[in-house]
């Protein structure tokens, strides 16, 4: 019988397996924990949290599209105080590996959030979401420009202290994602999360108006997987030593394997959990079988395999 070392590393932190949840697709874990123990995940990445509680957008917030969906939630959430008071202790009690995703409207807000996280035990990494497309002003998407991306990462770096790995979540809606990746790597991130949703839109041909209350939304699901594979491949080629948490339409072990071959050190399950709450567990077992079938004893040997010999 073949054995597989399924563990992976992001910065200084080790994870028992490379299957994570994607931020915004697992809430803070309670809902999915009905279906499987959260300890089975490499890590749970919590929904991006802001300093204050936030109502989010009006409905409709969702439109199904071919092999995908648009969402326009607008970062609804309880705010950092309630999150640290309720959600983190619960997740710690479950013994889940926790990656906290943070989002801000200003560079300062990221700094404030990082300062709050600094003293919290039980967190394995922080994901800095600089790429949520559901903000009122497109100019607020920090990940669209190298200088604003760097400003945020520097604010996080200054305030977080210690060894907590910083993962920057980038947008594929840019001319050159490698340029943005280069900027945040120079600013000191330990890893990258690729990719956030793509900005999209659906018009209801009956009402002849935009389907979503927020007009535009983030496109996710299998429809965007080739975009994720491309982004991961390009960035891994340029920075083979920077771990990438890959995501974008992964619904099977085969899909996860594709992102890993492109260069992902871990794979997050997002929209697939909406269709199947056990999707992460399905992907995990299928991926493990596939790696063994392909002759890998160590998961890490498969990372970026598609680049070999080229």
């Amino acid at each position: 019988m073949s054995t597989l070392d399924f563990s992976t590393k992001i910065g200084s932190k080790r994870f028992s397996n490379p299957i994570f949840t994607a931020s915004g697709c697992a809430s803070s874990g309670q809902e999915l924990s009905q279906f499987f123990p959260l300890t089975e995940l490499g890590a749970i990445v919590t929904k991006s949290i802001m300093t204050k509680s936030r109502t989010g957008r009006l409905t409709p917030r969702m439109a199904e599209t071919p092999s995908g969906m648009l969402n326009s939630i607008g970062l609804q959430g309880p705010g950092i105080d309630a999150f640290l008071e309720n959600d983190i202790p619960w997740l710690v009690e479950q013994k889940a590996k926790i990656i906290v995703s943070i989002a801000g409207e200003t560079v300062d807000e990221y700094g404030v959030l990082s300062r709050r996280l600094r003293a919290v035990s039980g967190i394995s990494a922080v994901e800095v979401n600089i790429s949520c497309p559901n903000v009122e002003n497109r100019g607020q998407v920090f990940a669209c420009h190298p200088d604003t991306s760097v400003a945020v990462i520097e604010a996080v770096r200054r305030n977080i202290g210690g060894e907590l790995p910083i993962i920057a979540k980038l947008s594929p809606d840019v001319t050159d994602i490698v340029e943005i990746a280069a900027a945040v790597i120079n600013a000191g991130v330990d890893g990258l999360a690729l990719i956030n949703t793509l900005l999209g839109m659906v018009i209801d041909t009956n009402s002849m108006r935009p389907k979503l209350a927020g007009k535009t939304g983030g496109l996710s699901g299998p429809a965007i997987r080739p975009v994720a594979v491309r982004a991961i491949y390009q960035v891994h080629q340029a920075f083979p030593n920077t771990p990438i948490v890959g995501m974008g339409g992964v619904a099977s072990g085969r899909d996860a394997f594709e992102l890993i071959l492109a260069g992902a050190s871990a794979v997050s399950i997002g929209t697939a959990s909406f269709g199947n709450p056990n999707a992460a567990m399905l992907v995990k077992s299928q991926l493990s079988d596939l790696l063994i079938a392909r002759g890998f004893n160590d998961f890490r040997d498969a990372i970026g395999f598609a680049h070999r010999g080229l």
Binding site: Q30, Q34, I73, F274, P277
Partner: protein, 283 residues
């Protein structure tokens, strides 16, 4: 903070289609669900994968449970009333007996039952009446008077099976086109019926416009109103945050998930007027 009301009984199963019959413009479908049936309460819903494995439809569809039978000839079963409106519901309606569907249930909240005998009015729009029949039976067994009012755009869109009609003390029909019962919108008939029947509590299920009109009437009469709301859902299990409705809270307005805090909610808590919501949010 509003406490989590996650339905702890929810399970994901493969459920066999054991009956699928046309009922007017709808399909009455029965699924074998085993033990799940025992944990279902009136008002709960299920979320079903549609389209098959190679489908481009990636999201589940939510359906209110019409009835649940704990121990039938096929073990536990649930019944749904499905309108083949879109691709997903049409796919479901096309399932043959013996096929299996991926089903999660029971999900969401259920109708609250009054602690003492009360005159209850159950109001259903279109096939929104489906979950009200199990509720009617439960209320009747608790000694409540149950008056049912069912409305639709036209006669054949009213879902009112014969056995369901027997459980109620009175049944009033309304149609927008006058093809059956009272001519006009369902909400127009309600105030007079409340006075005549001495209604003390209202339960409703149907389109949001109808629920909103009933909420207004319930407020005028100062009657408790529990409604089963409908907002488009991506997951049904509380992770996607798309199916929210605005409710009143200390911070003006709070968006709550209709899959966790609903579908059955207190009609007086919901802010039905969209403009009011926008104003409160400062949009």
């Amino acid at each position: 903070m509003i406490p989590h009301k996650i339905n702890k009984a929810a399970k994901q199963i493969l459920a066999e289609v054991i009956s699928n019959k046309k009922f007017g413009p709808y399909h009455h479908m029965v699924f074998a669900v085993g033990d799940m049936a025992a944990s279902i309460k009136p008002g709960n819903f299920v979320a079903i994968s549609v389209g098959g494995e190679q489908s481009s439809l990636i999201l589940r569809r939510a359906f209110a449970i019409y009835r649940a039978i704990d121990k039938g000839p096929m073990g536990g079963s649930i019944e749904l009333v499905v309108a083949p409106h879109g691709q997903g519901s049409s796919w479901l309606c096309a399932r043959a007996i013996g096929e299996f569907v991926d089903l999660i249930g029971p999900l969401g909240t259920s109708f609250g039952i009054p602690t003492s005998n009360a005159n209850a009015m159950l109001i259903g729009g279109g096939y929104g009446s489906a979950p009200l029949f199990a509720l009617a039976e439960l209320l009747k067994n608790r000694g409540c008077r149950v008056d049912m009012v069912l409305g639709a755009s036209t006669a054949n869109k009213i879902f009112a099976p014969l056995e369901g009609k027997r459980t109620v003390s009175s049944l009033t029909l309304t149609t927008d086109d006058g093809s059956a019962g009272i001519h006009g919108q369902i909400s127009e008939a309600i105030p007079r019926l409340i006075r005549e029947l001495g209604t003390e509590v209202i339960y409703s299920c149907g389109p949001m416009g109808m629920l909103s009109a009933i909420a207004k009437i319930a407020k005028e009469f100062d009657i408790a109103h529990q409604c089963s709301v409908e907002e488009s859902m991506a997951c049904g299990i509380g992770v996607c945050m798309t199916c929210v409705v605005p409710i009143r809270s200390e911070e003006n307005v709070k968006m709550v998930r209709t899959c966790i805090d609903g579908p059955v909610m207190d009609g007086s808590q919901i802010i039905w007027d969209r403009k009011e919501v926008s104003d409160l949010m400062g949009l």
